[in-house]
């Protein structure tokens, strides 16, 4: 424990810590549980219209239904043990949703690897597959990004989404005179000290770290979901918490702290997996598949009956009463009695970054043959189809998935209960954040925003996962502060609430450091199936670009083509134009209503050409038209215009060219007509490609390496 922190704790306790308290504080005041370096910054986020933003997970409202969603990072465990790390990451985020009495219905993943680390990629993919599929929660989308900055620590960010009638939501604050009940797996030694482990850099000897990784069981999780939902439907169940980081300790202490009462735990009453566990081990164990409930005395029997039905072990482990202490008893003796106000209210740093890191402003200006460039980009693993990944994940279980992955910017889930659709996507733009964390964070937000719009959804709210290196490093702090500010500003500008989130620091090793990585998960609403839009362009449809027009002097820093062709990450990136974004959104929704618009996709990775190719590959149709305006550009200029990534652009297809043109002109929407979808070749500005050949490269780039 940090000397400074130790002093701070003892100052607040007005006495020395006992040995057990030392364990308690090392977990509760860890970065992972206590958000020491981020708490102050996170206050900047817009919470207007968020549903329960200070609970295990926040949400948004659709009709009488609460849509709850949150992200979680499991980066450190996955670096050590990719299979279990990924599996328990999903397990953890599911419980956060479940604790509100919401049924989890969808999962998404945002994964970042170094492409050379096949064992991590395969392990994580399999972990998600075996765990998520077996729990019966559809894995509907997400993203995979490859960059060598993730060589030391891969990023595994998972998001879960659940639904509950708002009236039936259960919160996490206990009340006085409740019985504390622990349901689920027997507490064992797995994951002891996991929270503290995730709050430091990874060492070189990774086999020693394995003890800190939890082990999941999806079958038990599936049962736990059903049993918990049944228990939470009982009126006399006052509060619920899941056992995640710092296990029983954090769940029970937070429950009592929020409920402003004392809690007393009797550790002999727990069902244990191993005899002779110490008090600290019991409190800190991160054994998976456990939930804690505060229940009124009268209903404890009912809870036990439900546990029995699902063949679960369950114990009555303590009680709450008037007061404000955390009391731990074992063998009839009080081992510790500590004020909750100290345990649950850790010291919070003010980051005050002194200087912001100067970034290289040099532009990328390499020459590369356009034909070779197209071939190289479509078969680049980051650009290429992620089919190899998502076909291992059951994206349709539950029967709510209406659009399979990659067919639109956001996944579409039917909310049968309210006869409408929920759209959800998960995005990040690490290269952009590396060049400019402030604009990069805004840009990431807009990536998700446009993914929802281009799929027909009105955005409602977002969650985030902020992955950074060591916060003790001045540069990292500066990056973090800027990224949070960017996200706070953009969420206010667009009036969308940040309903939940997660921060992961210390993503570095002695030799590698990750890019500052802001992952956004965004949720939207669509009324009916007819209003869903897909990123599919069909035969004989005309393709238009709307929005910002890319120029030779546009800022295209961080664009994928520069990394793929020249291994270059640099240059400048431009901010976004709010009024243009809103104008484009309204245009897309109105054209959909007038049935002018048939398919749509937002222009992102790979610029205009890359985006166009994705939509054409989705429907297996060729293209004939012009993407450049004919002037004698050099190769490097062509690359910039074709593949450069700037904000505020969409492509869409239409059957009626003239009325669309008329509509766009009348409404003052900046547009360019690009061409028509025909044949089996992709032709533009004198270039010609065989659709089948490019498509093969696009769909098989990853499987060719891994199968």
């Amino acid at each position: 424990m940090d000397k400074f922190i130790e002093k701070e704790i003892e100052k607040r306790l007005k006495r020395k810590m006992s040995e057990l308290e030392r364990h308690i504080f090392s977990a509760m005041w860890s970065e992972h549980c206590g958000y020491l370096h981020s708490k102050n910054e996170l206050k900047k986020f817009n919470k207007n219209n968020a549903l329960f933003p200070y609970e295990n997970s926040g949400g948004v409202k659709i009709g009488d239904w609460g849509i709850f969603f949150k992200t979680e990072s499991h980066n450190h465990p996955c670096a050590i043990e990719p299979y279990q790390g990924a599996a328990t990451g999903i397990g953890g985020i599911i419980r956060d949703i479940l604790a509100l009495n919401a049924r989890p219905v969808a999962l998404l993943n945002s994964l970042k690897f170094s492409f050379s680390q096949r064992h991590l990629i395969e392990g994580v993919t399999r972990g998600i597959s075996d765990y998520g599929n077996s729990c019966g929660i559809a894995d509907v989308g997400g993203e995979v990004i490859f960059d060598d900055s993730y060589y030391g620590v891969p990023l595994v960010n998972v998001m879960a989404l659940g639904i509950a009638p708002v009236k039936k939501v259960k919160l996490s604050a206990a009340k006085e005179n409740c019985v504390i009940v622990l349901l689920g797996s027997s507490t064992g030694l797995d994951g002891v000290g996991g929270a503290a482990f995730a709050s430091k850099e990874l060492g070189e000897n990774r086999s020693e770290e394995k003890i800190h990784v939890q082990i999941g069981d999806p079958f038990v999780k599936k049962k736990l979901i059903e049993a918990t939902l049944e228990i939470l439907d009982l009126d006399d169940v006052v509060a619920c918490q899941d056992c995640g980081a710092a296990g029983l300790l954090s769940s029970t202490s937070e429950m009592a702290y929020k409920g402003k009462c004392s809690i007393e735990l009797e550790l002999d009453k727990l069902h244990l997996a191993k005899k002779n566990m110490s008090a600290a081990q019991i409190l800190l164990s991160e054994t998976q598949e456990r939930m804690v409930f505060a229940v009124k005395k009268e209903s404890v029997k009912k809870v036990f009956e439900i546990a029995d039905k699902y063949e679960f072990e369950v114990s009555q482990i303590g009680k709450t009463y008037l007061g404000d202490d955390y009391i731990v008893k074992k063998d009839g003796k009080i081992l510790s009695k500590t004020p909750l106000g100290v345990i649950c209210n850790p010291y919070v740093y003010n980051l005050y970054p002194k200087k912001f890191k100067e970034r290289p402003k040099k532009e990328c200006c390499g020459e590369f043959d356009v034909i070779k460039a197209v071939n190289k980009i479509v078969s680049n693993p980051e650009f290429a189809s992620k089919r190899w990944f998502y076909e291992q994940w059951d994206y349709a279980v539950g029967g709510r998935t209406f659009v399979p992955p990659e067919k639109s910017g956001a996944a579409a889930l039917k909310l049968f209960e309210n006869d409408c659709f929920i759209g959800v996507c998960m995005d990040s733009k690490p290269r952009f954040c590396a060049l400019n964390p402030y604009i990069g964070a805004k840009s990431t937000f807009l990536e998700s925003y446009r993914n929802l719009i281009s799929s027909g959804f009105e955005p409602l709210g977002l969650t985030n996962c902020l992955n950074f290196a060591n916060p003790k490093d001045e540069d990292v702090r500066a990056d973090f502060v800027q990224a949070v500010q960017g996200l706070a500003d953009v969420s206010k500008e667009y009036n969308l609430p940040v309903v939940s989130g997660n921060v992961s620091f210390y993503n570095e090793t002695s030799t590698t450091k990750i890019f500052p990585t802001v992952t956004i998960g965004m949720v939207g609403y669509c009324k009916s199936e007819e209003e869903l839009i897909q990123a599919v362009f069909n035969k004989d449809e005309h393709v238009f670009l709307i929005g910002e027009k890319i120029q030779l002097n546009s800022n295209v820093g961080a664009s994928l083509y520069q990394k793929v062709l020249f291994d270059f990450i640099g240059g400048e990136i431009s901010s976004t134009d709010y009024s243009l974004e809103i104008k484009l959104k309204n245009a897309i929704f109105e054209m959909r209503k007038k049935t002018l618009l048939s398919g749509a996709i937002d222009v992102s990775k790979g610029g205009v050409l890359g985006t166009l190719l994705c939509a054409l590959f989705n429907s297996d149709i060729g293209f004939c038209g012009n993407l450049l305006d004919g002037k004698g550009y050099s190769n490097s200029q062509k690359l910039k215009l074709l593949f450069g990534e700037i904000e505020g652009r969409y492509l869409f297809s239409t059957k009626c060219r003239l009325s669309t043109q008329e509509y766009l002109t009348k409404n003052n929407i900046p547009f360019v007509y690009l061409g028509i979808c025909v044949g089996d070749k992709i032709e533009f500005d004198g270039y010609e490609f065989c659709l089948k050949e490019l498509k093969n490269k696009y769909f098989n780039a990853i499987s060719n390496r891994f199968d």
Partner: protein, 208 residues
């Protein structure tokens, strides 16, 4: 027409199966794994999922439940039609109600996608498309089952012998299939061919 959907611990496709059945004109209700009589039902569905975590082997443990004993009586009596989908098919094979076994896919990975299939019914053949989602879906059997096959992979995704995707028993009163018809009822992205399967099941029930 009244259908039971058996729910074991770990079953996870029961909700969409019920939704699809009701959409296709069945009256459907859940029946727990401890039930010991199924005579009320014209059809019994064992839906997809991971019953008992697929511990030991897919579908292995479910066969020891009371409801499977009840199902054996139901089948012996020729009361109605039994349909096992995905994990349900695995359970029927493990219980030796259907011939053969389902083992790990040749690629040893979970496969989730729509696949083209050939459906044979009443001597007629037609091509359809249904979603599959399984890791242990490779059908193996050491006798020729071609005569019992009603659903065949056109582009075999898992290495199944005889390209078996769906199979009858001797009396044509029990059907097992790996693809998920219940996922292909409501939206064009997954197709509507699931309805064809449910139509055939209705006809099998009527045939009695």
């Amino acid at each position: 027409m009244k259908a039971a959907i058996i729910v074991f611990l770990g079953t996870n496709c029961e909700v969409e199966t019920k939704r699809a059945l009701e959409f296709c004109g069945f009256e459907a209700e859940y029946v727990n794994f401890d039930a010991n009589n199924l005579d009320n039902y014209d059809a019994v569905f064992l839906s997809g999922g991971f019953s008992y975590g697929d511990y030991v082997r897919s579908g292995r443990l479910a066969k020891f439940t009371p409801v499977i004993s009840a199902l054996r009586k139901y089948i012996d009596k020729k009361r109605g039609v039994t349909v096992g989908i995905c994990n349900g098919f695995q359970i029927l094979c493990e219980a030796h109600i259907l011939k053969g076994a389902l083992v790990e896919n040749d690629c040893s990975r979970f496969v989730c996608k729509n696949v083209p299939l050939e459906l044979s019914f009443n001597g007629e053949k037609r091509n359809i498309s249904l979603p599959v989602a399984h890791k242990e879906g490779k059908y193996i059997c050491f006798e020729d089952v071609n005569d019992y096959k009603f659903l065949k992979y056109i582009d075999n995704p898992n290495g199944s012998m005889y390209d078996v995707a769906g199979l009858y028993d001797n009396n044509k009163r029990v059907m097992g299939l790996m693809p998920h018809p219940e996922r292909a009822v409501f939206t064009k992205n997954f197709g509507y061919d699931g309805k064809e399967i449910f139509k055939i099941i209705r006809e099998e029930v009527k045939r009695g």
